[in-house]
Symmetry: C2
Subunit: 263 residues, 2 copies
């Protein structure tokens, strides 16, 4: 199975893409809803949680792990790769590759959580791929809460997005990476605020395209994965609200959510 | 020592009141910053965390526990009282007593997290104290993020507060309980949106007044507490951002924040 974890239910946007692009693959998902969010927490804490999350998925039969959380991808990917003997895919490298490819002027903006932005990883990866490009990263932490509270269509949200994007758009970016699983649900509002000259990059889509390419390149890995589609969904806490927004992130009814404790 | 815990650093607003009203008492504080917030999580998860938090404070020498977190006070107080042999004070009962006292018409609003509002505890306690009063509770979860991101003075925040208060004020409340440690930092914005006919009740202040009364009534308990003022501050995660807002909540430099792990 393909293991996918996130700090909460936002990573279901990645599962949604797997269901679209790799419909025959089975997914085991873990959302750490008892300890979310990760994006406001320190690299040490996020790394410790990420190791527990990956361990859980491996115990449930995952043969490769997708780290759907940008904050965990930003700070914990090396620790996970060093510890576990399966392919570990983060959401950042595929997004940086896409931005390097689509950006005409090499003026690239990144919006994400404080943990993601503070890590500086988007700048480091871009410096390798396209050294002359400029990457400006800006923390936009309120957007997570606005999505989780289903305030996507409120005028205050549009106003907050405009305020957050002002410095990036003032710098003349032509590409914007939505570096948090929640932000694609605000893509319309973000696109309106950024204007038609800015191309949005959705890391969920780019990551699942990279996953597809990996499986095409590695038939043995692909053959080791169960077939049949669908998924098993585990979380560390359940509330009625989590249930409702889970289906919104997945784009369809999430079915049974099973509660497990990692502590 | 007086033990105080919260899901994060918001409970420092209670410590601030202890320093003002009981300046000679020593405080040991725990903020569960590695797992915050509690207000979006289930009663079972919040109760499990609250028990760990209280246990930690008792091990550090606390002789009584103040549950500074409204969400934990709403769902975990009975479990804590059943398990531990020291006085346990929540922030809800003192606030309900104050509201019952100050409200002229008995039309009382409550704003808080989803966990607090869903618990229905404000209505249950008021039904005992002042049965003819009407309590309307409304979840206003975005306010926590807005305070933590230091957006208190932004126009979007005022607009969100007005939208949240509209149904309560439309119902003609004359008293409003700010049922989350973060909300007193928005008291100005909330007062402006609620208008002059509405009296705000700050549970931090009412709780420390209740604590003071308890110590006056129980000289043996008071004598068992160390004197000398000041406090020790423990958290389960530290980031530069937590450090900055800690001082804002405490109203003075928080000094050394020590990181401990409860897991």
């Amino acid at each position: 199975m393909i293991g996918v974890f996130d700090s909460g239910i936002g990573g279901l946007t990645v599962v949604r893409r797997i269901f679209e692009l790799l419909p025959d693959r089975r997914v085991v998902y873990f959302g750490d809803t008892a300890r979310l969010p990760y994006g406001t927490k320190s690299p040490e804490t996020v790394t410790a949680y990420a190791i527990q999350d990956a361990q859980f998925l491996l115990e449930r039969g995952a043969r490769l792990i997708v780290v759907a959380c940008n904050s965990a991808s930003a700070v914990a990917l090396d620790a996970l790769a060093a510890r576990f003997d399966v392919p570990i895919l983060g959401v950042i490298e595929p997004a940086v590759e896409a931005a390097a490819r689509v950006s005409k002027a090499g003026e690239i903006g990144v919006i994400g959580t404080r943990a993601t932005v503070t890590s500086g990883i988007y700048q480091r990866l871009m410096a390798r791929l396209r050294p002359e490009a400029h990457v400006r990263a800006h923390a936009t932490p309120l957007l997570v809460s606005l999505v989780e509270e289903d305030w996507m269509a409120q005028p205050e949200t549009a106003s907050i997005v405009r305020r957050y994007l002002e410095p990036l758009c003032g710098d003349g970016i032509d590409t914007l990476i939505l570096a948090c699983t929640h932000y694609p649900l605000l893509a319309g509002v973000i696109a309106a605020a950024a204007g038609p000259a800015v191309t949005l990059v959705d890391p969920s889509l780019e990551t699942v395209l990279a996953l597809k390419a990996l499986l095409d390149r590695d038939p043995a890995l692909a053959a080791s994965l169960e077939r049949g589609g669908g998924g098993q969904f585990y979380v560390s806490d359940i509330t009625p609200h989590f249930r409702t927004i889970s289906s919104q992130f997945l784009g369809r009814d999430v079915g049974e959510l099973r509660k497990v404790s990692l502590e």
